[in-house]
Symmetry: C2
Subunit: 358 residues, 2 copies
């Protein structure tokens, strides 16, 4: 079991943009006992957090006693992301330069900055060399970036349902979600907290749209089809179909745990990522250092389709890096990475086993 | 050439819901000369209008002199849809019962009601038996419904990039777009005009999301990729990528010509359509009457994927109806139905040729 959420104050932090945060606070959880080379860093996705496993954990299929990331065997660490809203430095916190919350003025954060945060946290915990970084979606992007930016520091990176660079359609859908927040009059230029309001409508629209992209057409059809909400006629406002009721409910739940400025910052963090945008020199360095890569995609994922994983594996393979790409049949779209799918979970377990045996 | 927009007052109109409009006004355009059996009705899509061809026409690839729907040969009619905002009775008009604009209180309209509107207009024009109905997306749904609801009245129906019943994902995306409008504070429960405001932000979000669904992942990648807006850094508000600038521009243009209440009503009109929901009796009647059906899909369309057209053709074929399904290779998604794609246009031309020769 985790000791629950811990917080570390790690001093000044310089971002890739050149901006400097006077004080980096990191909220994180950890499980298991470190032995010097058994640390697995779990990197969370856009709306995730450090509470990976245990009661109400979001990735109990992957992480826990006897799971692929076995907390009886590995030391597992997960930090809340920079720019988020779960205790790590982010737009809700006070900017010492102004005495006000950062809000929209919080500096833009890159995937590389998230990796630096993880590395700073490990140094603070006295861990030089983690065994692996494991993550899905934005989490997988961090695992990939870590391998590329710090050759040989990881024995392995598990890059799941991720992208090396968002496509135009990915960017477009992210933009629509952000615009829903930015154009909500209650957003108040990001200073909503100071005005005692919240852009709940915009954040709801963003979440509903996000949710559609996390599921697949077939999966939604199987689960909801055109089933009508019992006892209702079709009305303009709805919900008239069960799928509408589901989305409205997901949006309500999301408002209880997430912040609009954090959504904007972490969404834009993904947009900017371009792992191989400067060519394959970084991939060659990762290859020379011997880092192993497991790339997993799901065949019904259209948020980050199999083609994104094929591209990642292609770049790594062409550079001579160790890479295995597994495309898993699943009708559940992007969210498949959270589900109990044995071929996928077994592959991650075997991958970590292989790293530990090196 | 068309005589431009004409308007007809067609008296009281009873909707499928039982609601009665005291006066049906229809705005329409027509081209060519009727000869008793050469009338082709073009049915427009969600955000289309009666101005099909000529300067600034939206379907000049399909309709015009020498085009598949040849205005030198056929009498072509297109009416603005019921519930829209282009001169046919809709939510912007005054409800005689209240003296105020209908707004959100405009009755829900079905695809069958749209077909009745077309039939009423033809009767007004003195045309008993149209040769064909032709439409894409919501337009194709009208052509299909016409064939099923009024067996033998059409010699043929060309059903392009359409659906016999929206999938859960289709419904979900429509809901997100509508919610963006409904939750815009300037929507004012649909009475925005009376308050001198407009829910432009909500309508913009709806349009941007719609636009993403009209294009394909590959098509957007080919056209925009990750190209950045020249001279800009990535910022939270953007536009930082060309695809963002494109969406913002499309939204701006849309505001000049469309109305939020009309968007809501026509979107919900699509949601409710379920052509074969009551079984195949209607398809058998269409088969017995000898109506011919051309069903066209585009292989990169994910708004109404090929599977939707396969299902339509399957129902019609199983009932013994004349049906041909053509799946056209195109990387341009749902919007392909508007483009100059010879295999598709030639198929429609041949289909109409066959009907005229009967």
């Amino acid at each position: 079991m985790s000791a629950g959420r811990e917080t570390a104050a790690l001093g000044p932090f310089r971002l890739a943009s050149g901006a400097v945060l006077a004080e980096l606070q990191v909220a994180f959880e950890q499980w298991g006992r470190p032995d010097g080379r058994n640390t697995v860093v779990v990197c969370h996705a856009l709306t995730g957090d450090a509470h990976v496993t245990g009661e109400d954990g979001w990735w109990t299929t992957m992480v826990g006693p006897g799971r692929p990331v076995d907390t009886d065997r590995f030391h597992v660490v997960c930090a809340n992301l920079l720019g988020g809203c779960q205790g790590t430095t982010g737009p809700q916190m006070t900017n010492p330069a102004t005495g006000q919350a950062y809000g929209l003025g919080f500096p833009l954060v890159t995937v590389g900055d998230q990796v630096q945060l993880h590395r700073r946290l490990l140094a603070h915990l006295g861990i030089d060399a983690p065994l692996a970084a494991v993550g899905g979606s934005l989490g997988g992007m961090q695992a990939l970036e870590w391998s590329l930016a710090h050759p040989g520091e990881l024995a392995g990176a598990a890059i799941i349902a991720a992208s090396g660079a968002l496509s135009a359609q990915n960017l477009a859908l992210s933009t629509v979600a952000r615009e829903a927040i930015l154009r909500d009059p209650a957003f108040r230029g990001g200073d909503y907290a100071r005005h005692g309001v919240r852009p709940d409508d915009g954040l709801s629209i963003a979440r509903m749209l996000g949710h559609v992209t996390y599921l697949s057409d077939d999966g939604m059809q199987e689960r909801f089809g055109r089933e009508r909400v019992a006892g209702t006629e079709i009305t303009l406002r709805g919900p008239s179909f069960e799928v509408e009721r589901y989305l409205f409910h997901q949006a309500e739940r999301f408002l209880e745990r997430f912040d609009a400025n954090a959504y904007l910052h972490l969404s834009r963090c993904m947009d900017g990522f371009d792992a191989f945008g400067d060519g394959d020199a970084r991939a060659r360095a990762a290859a020379a250092a011997g880092t192993r890569h497991l790339v997993v995609s799901f065949d019904s994922d259209w948020r980050f389709s199999t083609a994104h994983s094929t591209a990642i594996a292609g770049h790594l393979g062409a550079a001579g890096a160790h890479v295995e790409h597994l495309d898993v049949p699943s009708s559940w779209g992007h969210d498949s990475f959270l589900l109990d799918l044995p071929p996928y979970l077994d592959a991650v377990a075997a991958f970590l086993e292989g790293l530990a045996a090196q």
